[in-house]
């Protein structure tokens, strides 16, 4: 081998090595970016756990979970989260009563009855409804739904749970619709045609064949929608007020977990005080509840996938 040829070979090897080095550097760089999401989860859990642990050093967990009075700013202070949970429950239940049956109904219409032209017209409308900022829904609740409620029930307060529930229901409706639509359309056509061949009407096919067949997808959509309603903040804060209230009367003013978080952080609470820490405790509870619901929804969804593969 001449020396020039061996030099060339060396050069080539070096370039090759440089290239390999660059390739693996890029690979690890991209991996870092993918790990940002893991880091985010870790940070959320870490922050909530750390800050609420200082809170729970002063307020016993049982008092927090089962106490019936929430007054973090007024003396005598009290940190029973039940009024906030109750407010959230009122809103979520009301929103579910509206969004779940209506969402399923429109999904059935879209997937089974609507012509393809109607579908292409309606799908964008749903997307627009889903893309409207939540604060706009809050405005809508205050200026349209609450006055309407006050006309029907004169005892309605300016801020009330019902208005928030209705507007959150309207807000999660497009999501329920499109998820249920996906679930219904995933049912194989052979099941539809078999139903019709046996002489069943459209009503019978949808209620006795399609809905049971798509049930896990539909249930997953329902749970996901309810979890969205639990975490919904701005519309509820604007519509339902900020008075913790252990009541089941939807016409009264209430406070949800999310609107408490907003109201405490608006009023320049100094860091390190117990009311500042209570923000993290409520946030941790909110996070645990929504996470449990999302995991449940995923579980249900996975069962649904298995049944057709």
């Amino acid at each position: 081998m001449t020396s020039s040829a061996s030099n060339k070979l060396k050069c080539g090897l070096q370039r090759q090595r440089g290239r390999e080095w660059r390739e693996s550097a890029i690979r690890s760089g991209l991996l870092m970016c993918a790990l940002v999401s893991v880091l985010t989860t870790a940070a959320i859990i870490g922050v909530l756990a750390f800050e609420s642990s200082t809170f729970f050093r002063e307020v016993p967990v049982t008092e927090f979970l089962f106490g019936t009075r929430w007054a973090p700013l007024l003396e005598p202070r009290s940190f029973g989260v039940l009024p906030l949970l109750c407010g959230t429950l009122l809103v979520v239940a009301g929103a579910g009563l509206i969004a779940l049956p209506m969402g399923l109904g429109s999904a059935i219409y879209l997937s089974e009855f609507a012509s393809s032209r109607m579908r292409t017209l309606l799908k964008p409308v749903l997307e627009v409804l889903a893309g409207i900022p939540t604060v706009v829904y809050g405005y809508f609740a205050l200026t349209f739904i609450t006055p309407l409620l006050q006309d029907v029930f004169p005892s309605t307060e300016v801020y009330n749970a019902a208005s928030g529930a209705i507007v959150v229901g309207i807000m999660v409706l497009p999501m329920v619709t499109s998820l249920c639509d996906d679930a219904l359309r995933a049912v194989p056509d052979s099941m539809r045609t078999a139903g019709y061949a046996l002489g069943a009407t459209q009503f019978e096919v949808t209620t006795r064949v399609l809905t049971p067949a798509a049930l896990s997808g539909i249930l997953a959509a329902f749970v996901l929608a309810l979890s969205r309603a639990v975490g919904e903040t701005m519309a509820v804060t604007l519509a339902s007020g900020s008075t913790p209230n252990l009541t089941l009367n939807p016409l009264e003013q209430i406070q949800t977990m999310t609107s408490f978080i907003v109201s405490i952080s608006k009023g320049d609470t100094p860091a390190g005080t117990i009311e500042y820490q209570s923000l993290f405790a409520v946030g941790a509870l909110l996070f645990v509840i929504t996470l449990a619901m999302n995991v449940a929804s995923n579980r249900i969804m996975r069962r649904f996938k298995e049944s057709y593969e």
């Binding site: 999401s37 429109s106 749903l126 975490g231 999310t258």
Partner: protein, 289 residues
């Protein structure tokens, strides 16, 4: 016997027909709600929407109030959010689609991303407050807001970018590799250009989500009343939806009408962004066929 069967059949048909109309009615109700909402907002807000409104500072007097700082705050916030979340999101998507083996780590990351997408936005606000505002000591700055927003929209950016990258046909990859390009050269010169319109569509849609979000910014400390436009990533800022929130909460009807005008500005921005996303998607589909 035949008469009986006949009447039962007629009943079943009647039920079926009624059900059909019920479902149609329910669907139309949703459309109607959108109509009422837009009508309500437009009726209250249009008289207030003029050049003075867009170029003025907020004020205690409704006739002098405007949204200039809020508009600029939104622009700053979205620009910084895009600068942070887009590169990270695309890189994560490329890793998951092009490099990751189907294994524990990639499944773990995927489960993580899908769970993050379901975390309520206030919780991101709490995270931003604790980490960016206090721990990194960024204060109530645009940068702290943008970092929080970036984490919030990252799952959406990653998911939509992954779909765009997955849609690139394998033949392109095989051809590039067969010609001796390295994995990164293949990605850089073939996968990314082919997936770009799809990625951009997803990015625009997720940024339009960032524009409408309010709750995390309240926690991070975006200002409600501010007399200047931001001039650096460290300045304090206001954003449009927060301004709308503040005005909606006031009892005077003039301020509620101002809120409606603010909503109109917000909706116009969102419509423009969504329209450009639809346009990109359309061109993308035409280009591929």
């Amino acid at each position: 016997m035949t008469i009986l069967a006949d009447s039962r059949l007629r009943r079943r048909w009647a039920i079926s027909g009624a059900f059909r109309w019920l479902c149609r009615g329910i669907t139309m109700f949703g459309v109607l709600m959108l109509g009422v909402l837009i009508y309500q907002v437009a009726e209250a807000g249009l008289p207030w929407l003029d050049w003075q409104f867009i170029t003025s500072l907020p004020s205690r007097f409704p006739e002098k109030a405007g949204v200039k700082p809020a508009i600029w705050g939104t622009v700053w916030l979205v620009a910084l959010t895009a600068l942070i979340s887009v590169p990270v999101g695309i890189a994560a998507a490329l890793y998951l689609e092009e490099y990751a083996h189907k294994g524990r780590i990639s499944t773990f990351i995927e489960v993580n991303i899908s769970n993050l997408a379901g975390v309520p936005s206030v919780v991101y606000g709490i995270l931003g407050l604790a980490v960016f505002v206090r721990w990194f000591a960024l204060g109530h700055s645009v940068l702290a807001g943008a970092l929080t927003m970036s984490l919030l929209i990252l799952p959406v950016v990653i998911t939509s970018s992954r779909e765009a990258v997955r849609a690139v046909p394998d033949s392109l990859r095989h051809a590039a590799l067969a010609l001796g390009s390295t994995r990164w050269q293949m990605i850089r010169y073939h996968v990314i250009p082919a997936a770009l319109p799809g990625i951009l569509t997803g990015v625009i849609l997720s940024l339009s989500r960032a524009i409408g979000e309010t709750a995390p910014l309240i926690l991070v400390g975006a200002a409600v009343y501010i007399g200047f436009t931001p001039d650096s990533p460290m300045s304090e800022f206001a954003v449009l939806p927060l301004q709308v929130y503040e005005w909606s909460g006031r009892p005077q009807s003039e301020f509620r009408e101002l809120a409606a005008a603010g909503i109109l500005v917000l909706l116009v921005v969102l419509v423009v962004m969504n329209a450009s996303a639809v346009y990109l998607r359309h061109r993308f589909q035409k280009g591929r066929s």
